[in-house]
C-alpha cells in the first residue's frame, strides 16, 4: 500500500492487475454497449453497478457527514483528529459513485440532464441533485487540505468562515439522499421481497448509513494505521464504536418492529433463499457487532474493534445488495449474477479509491498531527502490533459468531443454488395444465368458404376452405392475411381480386410452392374441382 517505484509490492501488483482488467472492461462497455458487457436484461435492469457502486458507495461515504456534524455542529472537538481522512473518504466515495454512474447510464454523456430537465416527482431526480450538490460541498470541505499544501491563505480564510454553513448543508443533503436511496425502492411494493420492502425504507437506509459511516471511519483508521503508520486513536474509535452500537440497536428495533407489524417476521426463518440472506445480513451486520461492541474489552481492543467494524461494513454491503438484487430476483423471474465485466469495473473503482486515498495521504496534509507523533510508536511493524494485542479474550466470541456466519452463508449459498435451478427450469406452470385452446376458439366462427369462379382454360372452380388452412393448435391468421391476402393489414387493406391470377408467389403460390405445401404446378385438381 505504499506507492514507491523502487519497491513494487504485492499490493501494487494486485492494483495493476485490477486496473488492467477494469480498463479492458471499460473499453468493452463503451464500444459494445450494456448488453454485451453486463448480465443485465429487460427483466433485471439494475445490477451490481447500482446495487454496490452506487448504493454502497454512497452509504460507505456516510462517515463524512456523521463526523462533520459531530465536530462542527455538536462541537465535540475530540473527534477533530479523524475528521480529515473521513472527509477525504467521503469525497472520493462520491466522485467514484459518479464514475460508476457513467458506466451504468445508457447515455452517460447526458448525466447533466437533471440539472435543466426537472421532474420533482422523481426520487432519482432528488438523488441526482443531492449527489451533485453534496459532491460540491465535499470538494469544498476537502479543499483546505489542498490550499494548506499550496500555502494559499486567502481561500483558506474564506472556507474557514464558510465551514458551518457548508457542514449544515452537507448534513441536510446527506440525510436527504441517504434516505432517498431507500425511497427509490418505495415504488416497487409488489416487486421487492417483503423482508426488505417497507414503507420505512428511507428511515432504514438513513440510520444504517450512520452506523456504516462510523464503522467505515473505524475501518479506514485501521487501514491508515497499518499503511501509513499513523497513530491509532483507539479511545476515539471506541467511542465511535459506541455510536455504532446505538445506531445499530435503533435500526434493529425498528426493523424487527416493522417486520412484525407487516406480519412477515416469520418469513425470515423460512428456509428460503431470501430468508437465509436476511438472517445472514442481520446476524453479521447488526446483531454480531452489537454484541461485540457492547463489551468494553472488545471495543477497546484493536482486533475486536477492527473485526466489529468489518462485520458492520460487510453486513451492510449485504443489505444493500439484498435490497437491490436478492429481493428483486423472485419477482423478476430471472436470476442475476454480475458478469466479469461488471465485477472488474467495480473492483477497479474500489481500487482507484484506495489508490487516490494513498496519494492524497502522501501529498496532502490529511493527517496533520502525524509529524507530532512520538517516534516509539512507529518502531514495531503494525502487523506484529496487531497480533501482540491481548485479543485472546475475544477469540471465543469471534469464533462463535464466525461459525454462525459461516453456517448461514453456506446455507444461503446452498439454497441459492437450488433457487437458481428453479429459476432456470422452463416455465410450465399454468400453461400446459390449462384446458385446451379450443375453449377460446369455440366462439370463433371460421369465415365461410370462398368459391372462386372458373377462369378461362381452368380445369374448374376453386373453393377455398378456411377450416383446412387453419392450424387449430396455433392459429396464425396473419400468415395469409397480413401479406398475401391483406385483410388484416393496418395500411393498404384489400381482398384479392378474383379477376387476377392467384397462382403467383404473392397469393396462393406463396405457400403452395412445393416446400411449405404442395406446389400450384403439381396437381391442378387438388384445388380446381370440376
Amino acid at each position: 500500500m505504499r506507492w514507491s517505484f523502487r519497491r513494487p509490492s504485492f499490493w501494487q501488483l494486485v492494483f495493476i492487475v485490477i486496473l488492467g482488467a477494469g480498463l479492458y472492461s471499460t473499453v468493452i462497455r463503451f464500444t459494445r454497449g450494456l448488453g454485451a458487457s453486463t448480465a443485465l436484461s429487460d427483466a433485471f435492469p439494475w445490477g451490481l453497478w447500482i446495487g454496490f457502486d452506487v448504493l454502497c458507495g454512497v452509504a460507505l461515504a456516510a462517515g463524512g457527514f456523521t463526523l462533520s456534524a459531530v465536530v462542527y455542529i455538536f462541537n465535540i472537538e475530540r473527534f477533530r483528529p479523524i475528521i480529515r481522512p473521513t472527509i477525504l473518504t467521503a469525497f472520493l466515495g462520491y466522485v467514484l459513485v459518479i464514475v460508476a454512474l457513467l458506466f451504468d447510464l445508457g447515455r452517460p454523456y447526458r448525466i447533466w440532464h437533471p440539472l435543466v430537465m426537472w421532474n420533482p416527482h422523481s426520487v432519482m431526480f432528488e438523488v441526482a441533485w443531492c449527489v451533485m450538490l453534496y459532491t460540491t460541498v465535499l470538494a469544498l470541505e476537502f479543499s483546505p487540505m489542498v490550499f494548506e499544501r499550496l500555502r494559499l491563505e486567502r481561500p483558506l480564510r474564506i472556507l474557514h468562515a464558510l465551514t458551518v454553513p457548508l457542514v449544515i448543508l452537507g448534513v441536510i443533503l446527506s440525510t436527504l439522499h441517504q434516505s432517498s436511496l431507500g425511497s427509490l425502492y418505495l415504488i416497487v411494493p409488489e416487486k421487492l421481497h417483503p423482508l426488505w420492502y417497507s414503507p420505512l425504507l428511507p428511515v432504514f437506509f438513513f440510520i444504517s448509513a450512520i452506523a456504516l459511516g462510523c464503522a467505515m471511519t473505524i475501518f479506514e483508521s485501521f487501514l491508515s494505521y497499518r499503511a501509513f503508520r499513523k497513530r491509532l486513536e483507539i479511545d476515539l474509535l471506541a467511542d465511535l464504536g459506541k455510536v455504532t452500537v446505538v445506531a445499530l440497536a435503533v435500526y434493529l428495533v425498528l426493523r424487527v418492529q416493522d417486520l412484525a407489524r407487516r406480519d412477515v417476521l416469520a418469513r425470515a426463518l423460512e428456509p428460503t433463499y431470501e430468508g437465509r440472506m436476511f438472517l445472514a445480513e442481520t446476524l453479521m451486520g447488526v446483531i454480531g457487532p452489537i454484541l461485540l461492541l457492547s463489551i468494553r474489552r472488545i471495543r477497546m481492543d484493536h482486533f475486536g474493534l477492527f473485526v466489529s467494524a468489518v462485520l458492520v461494513v460487510l453486513g451492510f454491503i449485504m443489505n444493500r445488495l439484498n435490497v437491490s438484487i436478492t429481493g428483486m430476483e423472485a419477482s423478476s423471474g430471472v436470476s442475476y449474477f454480475p458478469s466479469w465485466t461488471e465485477l472488474s469495473v467495480t473492483l477497479m473503482i474500489v481500487a482507484l479509491g484506495f489508490a487516490f486515498f494513498g496519494l492524497a495521504v502522501k501529498y496532502l496534509p490529511v493527517f496533520p498531527e502525524m509529524e507530532r507523533l512520538p517516534a516509539p510508536t512507529l518502531v514495531e511493524p503494525p502487523a506484529v502490533a496487531v497480533l501482540r494485542r491481548p485479543w485472546i479474550g475475544t477469540t471465543p466470541l469471534v469464533l462463535i459468531l464466525g461459525g454462525i456466519f459461516f453456517v448461514s452463508a453456506m446455507g444461503s449459498a446452498y439454497s441459492g443454488l437450488q433457487y437458481r435451478e428453479r429459476m432456470f427450469a422452463p416455465a410450465t406452470s399454468g400453461e400446459e395444465s390449462e384446458p385446451e385452446i379450443a375453449e377460446g376458439l369455440e366462439r370463433f366462427e371460421v369465415p365461410p368458404d370462398i368459391t372462386f369462379p372458373q377462369g378461362e382454360a381452368s380445369p374448374g372452380p376453386v373453393t377455398f376452405r378456411h377450416a383446412s388452412h387453419l392450424n387449430w393448435e396455433r392459429p396464425n391468421c396473419t400468415v395469409c392475411h397480413h401479406e398475401p391476402f391483406r385483410i388484416l393489414k393496418a395500411s393498404g387493406r384489400g381482398a384479392p381480386s378474383p379477376a387476377r391470377d392467384l397462382h403467383d408467389e404473392r397469393h396462393c403460390g406463396r405457400c403452395h410452392d412445393g416446400r411449405t405445401s404442395f406446389s400450384v404446378k403439381e396437381d391442378c385438381t387438388a384445388c380446381h374441382r370440376p
Binding site: 464500444t31 447515455r107 385452446i437 393496418a490
Partner: protein, 276 residues
Amino acid sequence: MGGKKGLLFDVTLCIGCGACYEACKERNRLPRTVAHFLDDQLSDRTYTVVKKRGGRFIRQLCMHCEVPTCVSVCPVGALEKTATGPVIYHEARCIGCRYCMLACPFDIPKYEWGKVLPRVRKCDLCADRLAAGRPTACAEVCPTGATKFGDRQALIEEARARIRARPQKYVPRIYGLEEVGGTSVLLLSDVPFERLGYRTDLLSEPLPLLTWQVLQKIPDFVVVGSVLLGGIWWITNRRREVQIREREERKRRGASEEVSRDPSASGFVGPSQEEE
C-alpha cells in the same frame, strides 16, 4: 376528440389471429423476431404480444396508466402522459438510468441492450394516429373487435354493459379501472385475471403516491433541519466560547487557585455524540 382515449381488450372475443401483433410491427417498422408470433416476448423490437394462457388468448402491451409510475420516476421527464391518453417517450431527454423499467408495475418498458446508445422502447398507443383522429393500428385490424378503441369513459360504460348483459359469463371486474389508479387499456375476461397472468396484487392507488408522500416533505425538512442544526451549532458554540472565556478569566485571576478546578485536560466536553 375531447376526452382521453383508450383500448378495451375483451379476452372472450380474441381468437389469437395475431393481426394486432403484425399491425404493431408494421406501424412501428419493427423487424421480425420469431417464427410464430405466439412465441414472442415484449422487447425493444416487439411492443405488443399475444399469449396463450389459461385456455385463452391474451394481449400484453403498455397499459398507459392514468398516473403512470414510469412518468413519475423518470429523473429528466423523458416520459410523458399526454392529454389524450398515451404515455410517450422523449428520446432526446433520456439518460438511460432504466428506473422506469424497474418501477413499471406491468414490466413494460424495454431497453435496446444491443446498442451502444440505447433507447427505452414501448407501445405509445399510436400517439401520432390518435392525433390524426385514427384508432391504434392494433384496434383497426382486429377482425373480431376483441381490441376496441375509443374514449376511455365510453369504453368503461361499454365494458359495464357487456358484464351486465352476460353476468354468468364475465368475471365481474374491469381490469384497469382501479389498478394502480386506473389505466387507459381496459381488460374484460371470463377467466379469473390471475389465471391469464395479469397481476391482481396491485394497489388500487397510483404508485407515485408512495414516493410523493416522502418527497413532498423535503422543503419542510430542509428548512426545519437547517434551523435545527444551526441552533444546535449556536448553542454548542456559545457554550464553548463561554468556557474558553471563563478559563481565561480564571487564569487571569491567579494561577495558584485554579489548578485543581480545571474542567478537564482535553478542555471541552460537549453533549454526547449519540444525539444524532
